[in-house]
């Protein structure tokens, strides 16, 4: 785990930009109140009413059936599914700003790590990103600093996956492939050479 953290350029970027991170964390209360209001914004309510009023039958639009199908619960679910983007592998393994949050070569190990955790019935680790994602979603700011806890959990999944690897390949990955790729990412992140 320590090796993966050490070889993760994005974490180093966050350490070098710690004041920025602290500033972001200090803005949590205003972010929170802003985004809670956003769930039931007038724009979203209008769309909901539109959905409720579209009907092939003219008398159906105000019926209980339509109200049951389209109500504020839909907007809550809509927000929850938006929030769950924070646990999507796409967020961590594709280019966030200049590089990916977790090096792409760890993706297969992240995936196998999840399968192993399911087989070992370690639900705590599998479920833990969910509350964090919901919290990030409520803040409405999926920036690197807020995504940090899930990044750590996902790195743990990678560790679980790597542990199952043949020791020979494990060495190859941790001593050569990952450092080389991380060096590339670091140069890319901190300079404009590549």
């Amino acid at each position: 785990m320590r090796v993966l953290i050490l070889l993760n350029p994005t974490i180093w970027w966050m350490i070098f930009n710690l004041p920025l991170g602290l500033k972001e964390y200090s803005k949590v209360p205003p972010y929170f109140s802003q985004d809670i209001k956003g769930i039931f914004s007038s724009e979203k309510i209008n769309f909901l009413l539109q959905m409720r009023s579209i009907s092939s039958s003219p008398n159906f639009d105000t019926s209980l059936g339509k109200r049951l199908l389209f109500n504020k619960l839909n907007l809550i679910f809509d927000s929850i599914f938006n929030m769950l983007t924070a646990i999507s592998p796409k967020t961590y393994f594709t280019v966030f700003d200049k590089v990916e949050i977790i090096p792409i070569i760890l993706l297969p190990f992240w995936f196998s790590g999840i399968i192993i955790l399911i087989q070992q019935k370690k639900y705590k680790w599998l479920v833990s990103p969910l509350p964090v994602a919901l919290l990030i979603g409520i803040l409405g700011k999926p920036n690197l600093f807020f995504l940090f806890p899930i990044t750590l959990i996902y790195l743990y999944y990678c560790v679980v996956g790597i542990r199952k690897l043949n020791p020979k390949y494990q060495k190859l990955l941790l001593r050569f492939a990952l450092p080389a790729y991380s060096t590339f990412l670091t140069i890319r992140l901190f300079t404009s050479i590549v």
Binding site: F47, L48, S55, N74, S88, P89, K90, I104, I193
Partner: protein, 536 residues
């Protein structure tokens, strides 16, 4: 489960599947899409003349708007046209038929994978009422046909594994081969599936080869017939390569912009591919918004029902801890390979190109049902699931029948049928008819092919069209008001953007509206003498 009971349930499921796919098939979706008119007219042309719209004799690829279609769907449609005449029903018939039969093949395949009859039936029913599969079965989406061929092919492969009869392998290869000639994405998926099947069961093949190699003559011949010719055709046919190149993710405008200032373009293209691939694993795409039936970023439908989320999670758990290694490998293969073809293409996540992925969810749901039925509280959970599922289906039905026509009418070229029907019966009254090829609901950004709508809705003979490409006195172009309004006795059919704000409203013969209430097309009769005399 007793055999008779099992058969009765199968009949009920298939009947449900047929009703959901065939009920009001001609009128829902309300209009034929550009792909459908293209399939329809080419099929009619093949049936009557043996040539496609452009006069090519029995082609293996059909030119459409910015696209090249593979032949199987066109030739199948020509059969349905010969049976039911040339209409919306016959154009959509075969896709609806294969879509309706898919739950049956799913049930049979699951039985071959050693699932219980109850599990197989429940999963078959789940497919029969899955909006993702229904929506695409009700229109000419060739992916439905291809999916049917793949699952039926897999079923015959599993039979071959059990009985070792070579004809079953031949049928399997023929069906899988047909799928690559049906839908473009299968050209990526199929080599992977064949490699997977062969690698998983190489011992069976080796044993059989050692025993009697000559029995493989017919499967080898079929493989060459379908796959060998496809490879040859793909290399030599510029149309097919052109289509692949057009859809290639590297041609994404945003990526092209970034590549211009990128020092390491390979990295960026690779990351773009990863981005496209991983977007299919986003829960919002799968359970909430993937079907794109409403406005972007608004309430809609996912490729699976939202209520399925906890049950899919449970199914994945049961699959991961399952002791059946073959099914686990098969599911893992389908999970990873399902969205692969779609990931090489540009644009947002496509629920059409990923439909082949459905079989992974079938395996997951089968595991969920299988384990649920073993539990004491299984029936209670199943009852709760059915309740929420029914509610979700009502929601999906409402979105599909009401919101979908409202928000997507222009994408489905709504209004052209009505306008063209008027032209078919009244074109002789005018000196000239001009029909726009661009319109839209919010802005005029939808490119259409009015000549094909004319050929289809006026039921024009392909042999005449091959000799003379002119259709009546019709010209296809965006009306140019300042020039065309001066033409005597002309019918202009255009979107409201084609006419200036102060144009004489009494010239409007008719306005066709989108279901959402915005004007789709104005039918405008010119009478310049009167107008310009009064004006000047």
């Amino acid at each position: 489960m007793k055999n008779t009971k099992y058969k009765i349930f199968i009949i009920i499921i298939i009947a449900t599947s047929f009703v959901l796919r065939f009920y009001k098939l001609s009128s829902f979706p309300a209009s034929l899409s550009i792909d459908e008119v293209s399939f329809g007219y080419n099929a009619k042309s093949i049936l009557e003349t043996g040539r496609d719209e452009y006069g090519k004799f029995l082609p293996l690829s059909f030119r459409a708007l910015g696209d090249f279609k593979l032949p199987v769907q066109v030739y199948l449609t020509s059969i349905s046209i010969s049976l039911f005449g040339f209409n919306e029903f016959s154009i959509r018939f075969f896709v609806a038929l294969f879509g309706s039969l898919t739950p049956l093949v799913v049930i049979l395949t699951l039985r071959e994978l050693k699932f219980t009859s109850q599990t197989s039936l429940l999963t078959g029913l789940w497919v029969a009422i899955l909006p993702w599969h229904i929506v695409y079965s009700r229109s000419t989406f060739e992916v439905i046909t291809a999916f049917f061929f793949v699952i039926t092919g897999l079923y015959f492969y599993l039979l071959f594994k059990k009985t070792n009869k070579i004809w079953e392998l031949s049928v399997c290869l023929a069906l899988l081969g047909l799928s690559v000639w049906t839908y473009n994405a299968m050209r990526v998926f199929m080599p992977l599936l064949l490699t997977f099947l062969f690698a998983s069961d190489y011992k069976i093949f080796r044993k059989r080869l050692n025993h009697s190699a000559s029995t493989f003559t017919s499967p080898l011949f079929i493989s060459f017939l379908f796959f060998g010719t496809l490879v040859f055709f793909s290399i030599t046919n510029r149309d097919i390569l052109g289509r692949a190149n057009d859809l290639w993710l590297g041609n994404d405008p945003y990526l092209s912009q970034r590549l211009a200032s990128e020092k390491f373009p390979t990295y960026l293209i690779f990351m773009q591919w990863v981005n496209q691939y991983l977007q299919y694993f986003d829960l919002r795409f799968i359970f909430w918004k993937g079907l794109n039936l409403t406005s972007p970023n608004r309430l809609g439908l996912g490729i699976l029902n939202a209520v399925d989320l906890p049950f899919i999670a449970a199914g994945i758990y049961f699959l991961a801890v399952s002791s059946d290694k073959y099914i686990k490998r098969l599911a893992l293969f389908w999970l990873l390979a399902g969205p692969l073809a779609a990931s090489f293409t540009r644009g947002d996540g496509s629920s059409i190109r990923t439909l082949i992925w459905l079989f992974f969810f079938v395996l997951v749901m089968a595991h969920f049902f299988e384990n649920l039925l073993k539990k004491k509280v299984g029936n209670i959970i199943l009852a709760i699931y059915t309740l929420f599922f029914s509610f979700n289906i009502l929601y999906a039905f409402d979105v599909y029948t009401n919101a979908f026509p409202k928000y997507n009418a222009d994408i489905w070229h709504y209004g052209y049928k009505e306008a063209i029907n008027y032209v078919c019966s009244n074109h002789t009254q005018y000196n000239h008819v001009i029909i726009t090829d661009k319109y839209g609901r919010i802005e005029p950004n939808i490119q259409t092919i009015p000549h094909l709508y004319l050929l289809v809705h006026c039921n024009l003979s392909p042999s005449t069209y091959h000799l003379n490409k002119a259709i009546f006195n019709v010209e296809i172009k965006k009306p140019n008001w300042f020039e065309d309004s001066k033409l005597e006795n002309t019918l202009l059919i255009g979107s409201h953007w084609d006419f200036p704000e102060n144009f004489p409203k009494d010239w409007i013969l008719k306005t066709i509206y989108f279901p959402s209430g915005e004007p789709a097309l104005h039918l405008v009769e010119t009478s310049p003498d009167k107008y310009y005399q009064n004006k000047y």
